[in-house]
């Protein structure tokens, strides 16, 4: 498999006040490195505010990166004009209600992207393209003349996906695309993402907080904590042979929809809350909640190391713990 996206030492700091001399920053994404292969799905999980959305948006250059490098399909796109890449890299948002213009018909919502990128030579071709997209996401051509409020949550999410697909993208950042949907509808949308990937060879960065779903859809999973990637591995490996203390507690905290399994499951309940991203702990950012923390954890930031092939972890004591 070839690499589609490479992210090297990516940083995204947001200025949040302070004085000119001593500005204050949120280190929303801090020195994050990973890659995604063509046709692959990389899942990204972690607590609220750990930097998942910012990572996705910075890759698309919806935020200008503070530092680091983004390589897309062999080209360094960190500083280039994004226009040619906008079509190839798309995003689908969490909230299917807020992300669609209520005054536009579904056809125009999907058509707008086609117009921006001049992907249809005439009205007829435009219409055909809109219909094809709607059918691809399980809607039909009759839906083109209706407005977003006439649709259910799951259908609206399909419209958002049709809009993203209308420009023939290669890579889609899916930011919590199913969180707002009913459980019975989530599977419809998850399956659709999978089918589209198979049919069109799409590559996904899939952000979600439901690890049951992320594990299902992803080839590999990255775990973030306070702006840092702390573990990255094949999704099976990450679920069953995870190495980082935070991943262990995260996985153990997921309620499993199976009474017998959940009765026998060992739970590692973490103490305390996530520290403020404005003032993260020194050294390892997880140390304030980590049951294995020692002096070195407060003094030195652990390196993000490859422990076994394709399995990266940032923890001073991985070998000792596991």
């Amino acid at each position: 498999m070839s690499r589609l996206l490479e992210v090297n030492n990516l940083k995204q700091y947001f200025r949040v006040g302070g004085s000119i001399f001593r500005p204050k920053y949120v280190k929303a994404v801090d020195d994050v490195t990973f890659h995604i292969d063509k046709g692959e799905t990389l899942g990204l999980v972690g607590e609220s505010g750990c930097g998942k959305t910012t990572t996705g948006r910075t890759i698309l250059r919806l935020h200008e990166p503070t530092d680091g490098q983004i390589i897309y399909d062999g080209t360094d796109i960190t500083k280039v004009d994004m226009m040619p890449y906008r079509r190839r890299m798309q995003i689908v948002f969490q909230d299917p209600y807020a992300s669609l213009n209520p005054r536009m018909t579904v056809g125009d919502i999907v058509g707008e992207a086609i117009d921006i990128h001049k992907l249809a030579s005439d009205k007829h071709e435009r219409k055909e393209r809109i219909y094809t997209m709607l059918e691809r996401v399980g809607l039909n051509s009759e839906h083109a003349n209706r407005y977003p409020h006439e649709f259910s949550g799951g259908q609206r999410q399909r419209i958002g996906i049709a809009r993203a697909l209308a420009v023939d993208p290669e890579f889609i950042v899916c930011d919590e695309p199913i969180s707002a949907l009913d459980v019975s509808i989530q599977a419809q949308v998850v399956n659709m993402f999978e089918e589209l990937q198979q049919d069109l060879g799409l590559t996904y960065l899939f952000i979600a907080h439901d690890l049951n779903v992320v594990k299902h859809i992803s080839n590999r999973i990255g775990v973030m904590y306070l702006g840092k990637l702390v573990e990255l591995a094949d999704s099976y490996e990450l679920t069953f042979h995870n190495l980082h203390p935070y991943t262990k507690s995260l996985i153990s905290a997921i309620p499993i929809p199976d009474p017998v399994e959940s009765r026998t499951k060992k739970r590692i309940v973490l103490e305390g809350d996530v520290p403020s991203p404005l003032d993260p702990p020194t050294g390892c950012r997880f140390r304030t909640r980590c049951p294995y923390a020692t002096e070195i954890c407060a003094e030195q930031e652990p390196e993000f190391r490859e422990i076994s092939k394709g399995h990266h972890v940032a923890c001073h004591h991985v070998e000792k713990i596991n």
Partner: protein, 333 residues
């Protein structure tokens, strides 16, 4: 068998909106014994919250109870005055909501808000109420409780606010705690803490819990009984093991097939429930799930099925079960 704490019988509740009558609850019956932990799961809009609120005598405008009875802890809730209800709420039954920020008052300190409940329902004086508030904050695992008492809601994290809500809900050691999606807004590691806390308090105080959630993992973890709701109906009721290992309603079966499980060793394709949820303004005549059901028969579209009892406390309203029963009887004859 324990003492009956909750007995809702044939409850019907509708919202009379300008667009028409929304039949939010359509013949709901629920029985709970003291100490039970009941989970209510189901689609968005199926009536989970409305059911729970009606137990506290709360019917949001423009809703009206149009049939049935609600008995709780020896009170006939649906015949009580607002004043009588106020004595019960926060005292014998408490509720915690999904978003603690909307239920905590931003302009009062945490301490004030907890003490208010204590002063309202007990004959403790201010000093005693303050002591009790500190005790409660300690009980729900908040450190430096004396300092927290003086803080305002926005100064606390989401997890801490939910703990404060629980402290307020428990102030009078209620018989029943209703938790309406109490952890949906929280991270999983914080959620685990809160659920653990609720179960620990249940053991300590001996209260019963109604857990409303869309997360089947949570009910599998903490409930003994589960009611599955669909479009204002309890379509299946049973023990947690009944529901997960022997589901008998097509909606329950579909729901379980459609969710992935973290601990699955192999990657299976999910089997979604096709179609979209019911429009309660124009509900189907028969079984509400019929339009989405892959085993739907003619009769399903016409008439609502009665409950079929699989065992004493496992029942389901589905024509397939009625048909099975009918055929069994036929064979015997």
């Amino acid at each position: 068998m324990g003492k009956t704490l909750v007995d809702i019988k044939n409850l019907r509740l509708s919202f009379f909106t300008p667009a028409g009558e929304v039949k939010a609850l359509n013949d709901i019956s629920i029985k709970m014994e003291e100490g039970d932990v009941l989970g209510i799961v189901g689609e968005s809009g199926s009536g989970k919250s409305v059911t729970a609120y009606s137990l506290m005598g709360l019917v949001p405008y423009p809703g009206r109870i149009i049939g049935g009875t609600i008995d709780f802890n020896g009170h006939r809730i649906n015949e009580m005055t607002e004043e009588q209800l106020r004595d019960i709420r926060g005292n014998e039954v408490s509720i915690i909501f999904q978003d603690p920020m909307t239920s905590l008052n931003p302009v009062y300190t945490i301490g004030n808000q907890i003490m208010e409940v204590i002063l309202l329902h007990t004959d403790k004086d201010k000093k005693q109420a303050c002591e009790r508030a500190v005790e409660l904050l300690t009980l729900v695992g908040i450190n430096e409780p004396a300092k927290r008492m003086k803080q305002y809601p926005h100064e606390l994290s989401g997890g801490m606010r939910q703990r404060v809500m629980i402290a307020i809900a428990l102030a009078c050691e209620p018989k029943l705690l209703i938790a309406d999606e109490p952890t949906t807004a929280l991270d999983v590691t914080i959620q685990a803490q809160i659920l653990e806390l609720m179960m620990e308090l249940k053991r300590k105080i001996g209260m019963s819990i109604i857990m409303i959630t869309h997360d089947l993992g949570i009910v599998a973890n903490m409930c003994q009984k589960i009611a599955v709701m669909y479009a204002g109906k309890i379509v299946e009721y049973g023990t947690t093991d009944d529901i997960f290992y022997n589901p008998r309603h097509e909606y329950t079966k579909g729901l379980l097939r459609s969710i992935p499980k973290l601990t699955d060793k192999e990657r299976k394709r999910l089997v979604p429930i096709e179609g979209t949820p019911v429009d309660l303004l124009n509900p189907p005549a028969g079984c509400p799930f019929a339009p989405r059901c892959s085993s739907c028969m003619k009769v399903c579209l016409k008439r609502m099925p009665e409950y079929t009892h699989i065992s004493e406390d496992h029942y389901s309203a589905c024509w397939l079960l009625q048909k099975e029963e009918f055929e069994k009887r036929g064979e015997r004859a």
